[in-house]
């Protein structure tokens, strides 16, 4: 009898020891575990000499042609390099040493550096760029950001739509070191675009032989930037080492970088405070007040992006611009950033964030000595304009909110968004006397509801992809699927077949955008500003604040870490302090 019980326990024990068999010989660190899958990493310096950075998510991709997300963008910034490179101050020459632009601004000839190589030692030529740009225009590749190429390159859209051939696309390698580019119209920010990942080179032989996901395997992740990948473990980490074949390798000091994928903010912060992580960003809100007081490594940077309220302009109530203005003016933006978001955000007076520049380099929305933009469109960044808000609401027929149907505000389920929504609810109650009901939805559902215009007010947020106001403004064009306020003067049967309620005043905005595409310099600046004026005078959205990028760089362990204009980490010149 006893034997039976014992044998039962033995069987159980065996079941687990089979399943956890490998655990028994465990002392090997996790980094070595997936050795069967990944080739032995070249670790000249040992992983203890690597910079440890929390990426915070397992990126969807870091194939430059396919990526459309910030997290993948950080990796690409360090692993690949375009003709030009985005730095903190703008763009500088990178793979291209110089370029010529024709007088009409439509033809660019890039001259590549001589002798550049890919991380596997193969020569890097103009053909690699030609291939990558054409790949971005390929409908079968279906890159999210294909429009960033097809909009500008001659023949790009035609090839994408099947009305043109690949040879008609306006990019051609004249020889190994010369790339000629033909644009449909002069693009003021084209050199900024060529620094963007969609314009970075990829290797034809690698992509064609391995298909999508080539970048996830160290053997086939061939890159041309300062670092190359040596390991990737799904959801856990990604390791890069210095790319000795990079043309400027002499100035790359780091032996390697370990990118972690710790999702939980407090866990990552704890890792930093324990000395295990050196670089973090997007710090959890609750920790910000403490870090601001205690930790000099905690730094807040402005981010090119705006947090705002969408008004559904097709809605029975919000079709009235006076009501939209009332809701916007009732928001105390200064109190908002100081009491609610607390991350050093800037109160917003317009849609284009501070930090975006005009053609002469001046800030579109300069800040005063207190870090405030000038009042604009009736919005005072320092306080709510209660009187005018109330007057507007009364004028619209709802004095003190009386007679309004039930008003709702929709946000996607998330702690921070909830706090923000509750603060807005409070301000609207206090300043307008209107009760607003809060609704929340799971992200995927929220996106669909917003795009379909099935809401009254909804949260909105947009981060710029490149350093030009167009990256913000083209949200509200007729054809944009991200035009959540449903602000369209004409029907868009392809992009938004549901939107049958038209808003004639949007034509003014559309015309200004069109104008900006065919002008340059001051004229273009004026066109962009006119577009913003049209958007804001109609108060299609209520801007609340400009985003900030909260970061921690452990200055006792690392120096020379850079952030680019659109806040991508650049570790090219970083160095560990021994």
């Amino acid at each position: 009898m006893l034997k039976r019980v014992l044998s039962l326990l033995l069987v159980l024990a065996m079941v687990f020891s089979i399943s956890v068999g490998c655990a028994k010989q465990e002392p090997a660190p996790a980094e070595e575990k997936p050795a069967e899958e990944t080739p032995a990493a070249e670790t000249p310096a040992g992983e203890e000499d690597y910079l440890v950075w929390n990426i915070a998510v397992d990126p969807e991709t870091w194939d430059p042609t396919l990526n459309s997300a910030a997290d993948g963008g950080h990796i690409i910034q360090n692993m690949f390099e375009g003709l030009t490179k985005e730095t903190h101050d703008g763009v500088e020459a990178a793979a291209a040493e110089s370029w010529d632009i024709t007088n009409d601004g439509k033809t660019y000839t890039f001259h590549l550096r001589d002798g550049m190589k890919w991380s596997d030692g193969q020569p890097l030529t103009a053909k690699d760029f030609e291939y990558a740009w054409k790949r971005a225009c390929d409908p079968a590749v279906a890159s999210d950001y294909s429009f960033l190429v097809t909009t500008y390159l001659v023949g790009g859209a035609e090839y994408f739509n099947g009305t043109g051939t690949i040879d008609q696309i306006g990019v051609k390698a004249l020889d190994d070191l010369t790339l000629e580019v033909n644009l449909k119209f002069p693009v003021a920010y084209f050199l900024s675009l060529t620094s963007f990942y969609t314009y970075m080179p990829v290797r034809q032989d690698i992509v064609e032989a391995n298909g999508e996901g080539w970048e996830k395997n160290p053997e086939t992740c061939i890159s041309n930037g300062a670092f190359k990948m040596t390991e990737y473990q799904t959801g856990s980490h990604l390791t890069m080492v210095k790319n000795e074949n990079y043309w400027d390798a002499a100035n790359v000091k780091l032996a390697g970088i370990k990118g972690l994928m710790i999702v939980e903010g407090t866990t990552a912060l704890n890792g930093y405070e324990n000395g295990e992580i050196q670089i973090l960003d997007s710090i959890t809100i609750e920790q910000i007040p403490r870090l601001q007081k205690e930790d000099p490594n905690f730094v807040i940077y402005p981010h090119i992006g705006t947090y705002y309220v969408n008004f559904n302009v097709d809605n029975e109530v919000f079709k009235d611009v006076r009501i939209r203005k009332a809701f916007s003016l009732a928001i105390d933006r200064k109190q908002f950033v100081e009491q609610v978001t607390k991350g050093g955000q800037t109160p917003a007076t317009g849609f284009i964030p501070s930090g975006m520049i005009f053609s002469d380099g001046s800030d579109i929305r300069p800040l005063d000595e207190n870090g405030m933009p000038a009042p604009e469109y009736g919005i005072d960044p320092t306080k709510a304009n209660v009187e005018e808000a109330k007057a507007l609401l009364a004028e619209a027929g709802y004095p003190d909110g009386k007679g309004l149907p039930k008003i709702t505000f929709l946000y996607n389920t998330n702690e921070n968004n909830k706090k923000i929504a509750e603060a807005l609810q409070g301000m609207w109650k206090q300043n307008l006397g209107v009760d607003v009901e809060l609704l929340n939805q799971d992200w995927a559902v929220f996106q669909e509801t917003r795009r379909a215009g099935e809401y009254m007010m909804a949260r909105g947020g947009w981060l710029g992809d490149y350093g030009d106001p167009m990256t913000m403004l083209d949200l509200f064009t007729v054809a944009s699927g991200n035009n959540d306020p449903q602000w369209r003067y004409a029907e868009e049967p392809n992009g938004a077949p549901h939107d049958k309620t038209l808003n004639p005043e949007q034509k003014e905005f559309e015309d200004a955008i069109s104008q900006s595409l065919v002008t340059s310099g001051k004229d273009r600046d004026a066109a962009l500003k006119a577009a913003e004026d049209s958007l804001m005078n109609n108060m299609v959205i209520a801007p609340i604040y400009y985003y900030t990028f909260t970061t921690i760089v452990d200055s006792s362990k690392v120096e020379g870490v850079e952030l680019t204009l659109t806040n991508k980490w650049d570790f090219t010149h970083a160095e560990l302090i021994k």
Partner: protein, 305 residues
């Protein structure tokens, strides 16, 4: 017995097919799809992406494709982790969860049954009281509280364990304890109640009357019967521990399958949702089958024909 096992395997296959079909239906009926995760795309781009992933095909065709691929053990390519197969994602994430869950199960079996027996034998005395208080806490304190507290004390204050990840054995102490806490408490209580119950039975009185030593009475006569309800609980428990925990994996920064599963749903990563659900299904069916077979060894009264 062999006949029984064959019968069970056939019913397992039907169960898994059913799980798969149900998941497919539910997944497609919740609002939002893989395309609603990112920025809105131009209509032509969106159409191209849909075509690439077969989302433009009728549902029944998509279903049949899944069915066909699954019979070959191919779980398809993830929608949200470009170019990665579901098989690779599971293969990368599962070992962490397996290790945590496996050690946790072993710990629960040894400690839980042990504590339960001690508690029962010392009923209403100090060791019993202490264990009951501890197990009440174990069953009621949420694992994220316990995990956070554990990190605060053993990582921040004492520095005995690392703050995140899954490298050395030290990394596993926290997750193993946190994930197993509830079940440990439950097994302790279950064993205690069950042993107490058995000790009141007539045959125990008979055994004692025969003059058998207390040790023989407990181990040979009482425990055997007392363990049957515990073993019943162990099957599903092991399956649930090994399939990972979203909360524990998140707090300890471990890339296990529990968090993958949860995020696959919020991300509407259809292939991954299907793949992991079916994988879990297979796992749970097998664990239950093993337990059912074990009954025969533990209790001669049970026979499967």
């Amino acid at each position: 017995m062999a006949k029984y096992i064959v019968k069970r395997i056939i019913s397992a296959i039907i169960t898994i097919w059913f799980i798969m079909t149900l998941t497919f239906i539910l997944m497609n009926s919740i609002p939002g799809d893989p395309m609603s995760m990112g920025k809105a795309l131009q209509p032509e781009v969106e159409a191209a992406v849909r075509a690439k992933y077969g989302l433009d095909k009728p549902l029944i065709e998509q279903y049949l494709t899944y069915l066909k691929n699954y019979t070959h053990g191919d779980f398809g390519v993830s929608f949200q982790k470009i170019g990665l197969t579901t098989n690779r994602i599971i293969a990368d994430g599962f070992p962490y969860s397996l290790k945590i869950g496996g050690w946790s199960s072993l710990f629960i079996i040894v400690a839980g049954i042990g504590f339960g027996i001690i508690s029962a034998l010392k009923q209403n005395k100090i060791p019993d009281r202490v264990m009951m208080i501890v197990s009440t806490l174990g069953a009621t304190v949420p694992s994220f509280v316990f995990a956070t507290l554990f990190l605060y004390v053993f990582n921040r204050k004492l520095g005995w364990v690392p703050s995140f990840g899954a490298g050395t054995w030290k990394h596993y102490i926290g997750p193993v304890l946190c994930i197993g806490m509830f079940s440990l408490a439950y097994v302790t209580r279950l064993t205690r109640t069950s042993v107490l119950d058995v000790l009141q039975q007539d045959y125990i009185r008979t055994a004692r009357a025969k003059g058998l030593s207390e040790g023989v009475v407990i181990i040979k006569h009482a425990l055997r019967n007392a363990l049957i309800p515990v073993v019943t609980y162990l099957g599903p428990m092991i399956a649930s521990l090994i399939t990972g925990s979203f909360v524990v994996e998140k707090v300890f920064g471990i890339a296990g399958i529990g968090s993958l599963f949860t995020t696959s749903i919020t991300n509407r990563d259809y292939t991954l949702i299907m793949g992991i659900t079916v994988f879990f299904g297979i796992f749970i069916v097998i664990a239950t089958l093993i337990v059912d077979v074990l009954y025969v060894f533990i209790d001669p009264r049970i026979k499967y024909d």
